[in-house]
């Protein structure tokens, strides 16, 4: 009886530490997994301010555009005086800058700097 009590006491004491040990062993990998996953998700969409800067520099470098008139809200036709053929060229330059292809029906809608930024920032393939 005494031996059994001693054994139980020994076990009871022993169980808690072993659980703590096992939980401390399992938690780090989970952490790492979660962190990796969230980084992956964040990495697939570009930061909007970065996209804005890059779009602005592409538009400013376009030969027919006067750089001083390029603002984050500038409309290609109304503010920058570009025609529809120029707009196609600007959008193609943006495709090259961000390394992905913009389908025709989407490209036709991109008529201003902010529309370009919105589209690219919401596109997971933009690099």
């Amino acid at each position: 009886m005494a031996a059994r009590g001693a054994l139980l006491k020994y076990l009871r004491v022993n169980v808690t530490p072993s659980l703590q040990i096992s939980s401390s062993i399992t938690s780090p990998p989970l952490y790492v997994l979660l962190r990796r996953f969230s980084e992956e998700v964040r990495g697939s969409f570009l930061d909007k301010s970065e996209v804005t800067d890059r779009v602005l520099s592409v538009v400013k470098n376009f030969q027919k555009v006067e750089p001083s008139r390029v603002t984050p809200k500038a409309h290609f036709n109304n503010d920058l005086g570009l025609d529809s053929l120029d707009t196609v060229e600007v959008v193609m330059a943006l495709e090259e800058e961000f390394g992905f292809e913009i389908p025709d029906n989407e490209a036709d809608k991109i008529q201003s700097v902010d529309l370009a930024v919105d589209f690219i920032a919401s596109h997971p393939q933009a690099k």
Partner: protein
């Protein structure tokens, strides 16, 4: 012109233009520059010279352009030159 609302035909023209620029991309830099130059000159020339209401002629140019683009896409084609047959607008 109001660029926000494009007609179906305008969209076709822009799509063809985009197609040419895409095809030019796959070429070496020098060829690419030349192709872009020729294509852009041709489109701009027609955008000024062709009456926007001359749908039949624009249709014809679209068909011609599509055929030329198909040829340009083929890897056997090494270059592009422009022979301009200036037809008077009717």
């Amino acid at each position: 012109m109001g660029a926000s609302k494009l007609s179906g035909m305008q969209k076709q023209v822009l799509s063809l233009y985009r197609g040419f620029l895409r095809a030019a991309r796959s070429r070496p830099t020098e060829d690419r520059k030349r192709i872009e130059m020729i294509v852009s000159t041709e489109f701009r020339h027609n955008s000024k010279e062709v009456d926007r209401k001359n749908f039949q002629y624009i249709e014809y140019l679209l068909r011609l352009g599509t055929k030329q683009l198909d040829q340009l896409k083929s890897p056997d084609i090494v270059s592009l030159s422009s022979i301009k047959v200036v037809t008077s607008k009717t």
